[in-house]
Chain length 164, copies 2
DNA sequence: CGGAAATGCTTTGACGTCTAAGTATTTATT
DNA sequence: AATAAATACTTAGACGTCAAAGCATTTCCG
């Protein structure tokens, strides 16, 4: 199944041997890339029986948390940091499965609201439970490691202008 | 540009309010997902002028580090943890740009080798330099944070069976 | 030795994401 | 009030990834 050595540590050694720059940055970037890969695999596997993936679940959760159970598509994209076209696509699929419906904004004709349905709320709760059982894919990371990842990445998110 | 609050911290609050499980796991998973998003954006932007993306660069780097400048496609996939079909696709594009060529394996008729060309080596070096300049997208994370991310994610990678 | 199983790669199809362009509506400007 | 600019979403097209099926070659075993 796996390799006998750490492929990222191996890459760092090769990197140094070629005198290529920013070895520590490379390992951090590669680690995060691989972590994401592992997480997506585990999370999508857990959500597949529910007809969801992580993107669709994130939209449902956001709507579930909203006061009215609805949000403008643009606001969803801003929160989840995804492109408007991706939001359109995701909401299309959620709507096809009757987990949300599109409704017009009461005062702004340009805006479309995504409104979560009753079935959508049930599905969101089931998905949250399923994700809880697999610890959102981070099983194997201790509590301390999780906090450190959060803290370290917060630096990156602020530098990237996510908030603050 | 960004929001005024930390969207992940906000999600944690909402999560708790709904009594949804595994809040700390959720924040870790969401942080990693967002970090990956930031990295890919920065890295692909830095590599685009060179006609590369991160996947293609990773293949070139692997070949550059190899003893003979060539590797079986299957071995590339195992190292980079990507699907065989993705390796085929990536090597197709590298070959179209004359950065690698496919050659038959000397003894095993099933196996195809990807061999890096002279131009491929030059391009890899240029890309490594470009990535060094942007610190592989992790600019904003301090040295300590990078080490902590590496260490924390190593736990995850071992748990996922990557190596060891 | 010879057929079954395993291995290595490619092809096809589905899905997700992004960019760029297009349409509709609202806001700003003069 | 009329036009220009900005905003919100959708559509079309390109690319990347994966799963599943297909094809060729090699290895395993009775």
């Amino acid at each position: 199944m796996g390799l006998e050595f750490d492929p990222i540590a191996e890459a760092a050694i090769n990197w140094r041997a070629e005198n290529w720059p920013a070895v520590d940055a490379m390992t951090a970037a590669t680690s995060i890339t691989r972590a994401h890969q592992i997480l997506v695999g585990r999370i999508d596997a857990a959500l597949a029986p529910l007809g969801l993936n992580f993107s669709r679940f994130e939209v449902l959760a956001l709507l579930e948390f909203s006061r009215e159970g609805s949000l403008p598509l643009g606001k969803i994209g801003a929160r989840l940091q995804v492109h408007p076209a991706s939001v359109t696509n995701t909401v299309d699929r959620l709507e096809r499965d009757r987990l949300v419906t599109r409704t017009p904004h009461p005062t702004d004709g340009r805006t479309t609201l995504a409104l979560i349905t009753g079935e959508g709320r049930q599905r969101a709760a089931a998905a949250a439970s399923a994700l809880g059982e697999i610890e959102f894919g981070v099983a194997g990371m201790g509590a301390r490691a999780r906090r450190r990842v959060d803290d370290a990445i917060r630096e990156l998110r602020i530098a990237a202008g996510d908030f603050g």
